[in-house]
Symmetry: C2
Subunit: 281 residues, 2 copies
């Protein structure tokens, strides 16, 4: 997939919503627990109910690895279902990997080639040669952690370095890496005021934004400071949507929550377009 | 396992060798490819041939994930074999994980509880709440990336921050986290001169040291600057041992390479003891 295709999908669906498929067996409706693969059945129902409202889905691999081999089978079935049924959807393996060169190449193979996700999240701590093997995969994206949405983000990411705060050094340095066109970045919504700084360094990149809703970030603030000419944002929501109900109506309720976010996004997109039009006049 | 038990094992085996089980099907003897589970058969043979020379084994999860469900099955069988056959051995899941709190808790469950590794490697970029869920698991260890052995380590880890270079900030900050007694650190052997600095901050912690051999680090240099009163080092070697031969004699040749390292370590341990004794006199 190209970013142009992603942009077209955003315009078509009037949405830049990413739904996080972080499936915890303790939180899904109990009637699903009797099926052969409860995690996949849950994901399938959520995808069926929301695919016209979201442009991306993001399973976090931790939730699948926690169930061992069974979990990996569910992950495999979920990505296959998305790729076969909804090839226009942008898929993200939220794996936060990163290792020395030959090892990162194994992770890149696992997520971008074998499982055929469109993108994978990667941690920057080990630097250039730990990220470039992911960037080397053609027509796929590497979503680099820059400024995350959790409290611990302030431990290291905002430490002042010679080139400004660490997350800025990560953004600036990553732009010099080979195939850096294949980069996107994770920027947490709980730190909306930072988006201005981020956009100074990476004006054109897509940003994956967790932390709206459950973690307290505001969609409007993020869009105000973070949106660019081709939208450039994927706003992730996990728990707020997928666990909207624990009853038999869980998919329907998930759709209602996704619809609310899509409608907010539609308003924001229209306002942005109007503002653009007014500027032209 | 406790660090005391690990120390006793080191004294008993006169070795602080960790063998990295980074199994690549393109590199293992071809006669194993006809077995039902070549990766496990390879690991089993390596473990059988070297378990009296090594105190720890470290499968890197990337090499298993690259083979999907089959790979996870091989990983599961490998750790089960180690835990059942050699419970004294210290096991490390080299996973380099790290995510927001509830997600890190899932990874901690996967590696430290379900797979029952003694320890797991964790990336520090997301800070305190991304690491503490791992530290919360009793009698298990979290091996935090501090200064890695690859070239990219100089991109961010050695950036000057307000509190000294980033890896020092990571070391210092991590000591304030809950259950920090369960911390060990990754410090690459290719940067032996840094061990003096590291030991000023974490004098008592065990350090997992990759990069001896294949990546060019010197065992003697590392021990000179990094060893403490209870040794405090686990020196990892992967390719140099497990791929010593691609023939039917691979396990035997792996043993020869492991033996060479163990003997170097024995000499170093005796010298250190002698130096200690001379100091007492």
């Amino acid at each position: 997939m190209t970013t142009q295709q992603l942009y077209v999908q955003i315009l078509k669906k009037k949405s830049f919503l990413c739904i996080g498929l972080d499936v915890d067996l303790n939180k899904i409706p109990t009637h699903l627990l009797n099926t052969e693969d409860p995690i996949f059945e849950f994901n399938k129902a959520i995808i069926d109910a929301t695919h016209d409202l979201a442009v991306a889905y993001k399973p976090n691999t931790a939730f699948y690895e926690a169930y061992g081999i069974k979990g990996w089978r569910s992950l495999e079935k979920t990505i296959n279902y998305l790729n076969q049924k909804h090839p226009e959807i942008f898929t993200i393996a939220d794996a936060k990997r990163g290792d020395i060169g030959n090892t990162s190449a194994m992770y890149a193979k696992a997520f971008l080639e074998d499982l055929a996700f469109d993108s994978v999240t990667v941690a920057p701590y080990m630097g250039k040669d730990s990220v470039e093997p992911f960037l080397a995969v053609k027509d796929k994206f590497t979503i680099l952690l820059a400024l995350t949405s959790n409290e611990g983000a302030f431990d290291f990411q905002t430490q002042k370095t010679g080139h400004g705060e660490l997350y800025k050094t990560v953004l600036t340095t990553s732009k010099t890496w080979e195939n850096s066109d294949n980069l996107m970045y994770v920027i947490g919504a709980t730190k909306a005021e930072y988006f201005t700084e981020v956009r100074k360094i990476v004006p054109n990149s897509f940003l994956l934004v967790p932390g709206v809703g459950a973690q307290g970030g505001s969609l409007h603030e993020v869009c105000r400071y973070g949106m660019n000419d081709t939208v450039g944002l994927l706003i992730n929501s996990s728990r707020g949507i997928i666990y909207a109900s624990k009853g038999e109506d869980f998919a329907e309720k998930a759709r209602e929550e996704a619809k609310k976010m899509q409608q907010e996004m539609e308003t924001i997109l229209l306002d942005a377009q109007l503002a653009k039009a007014l500027n032209i006049i």
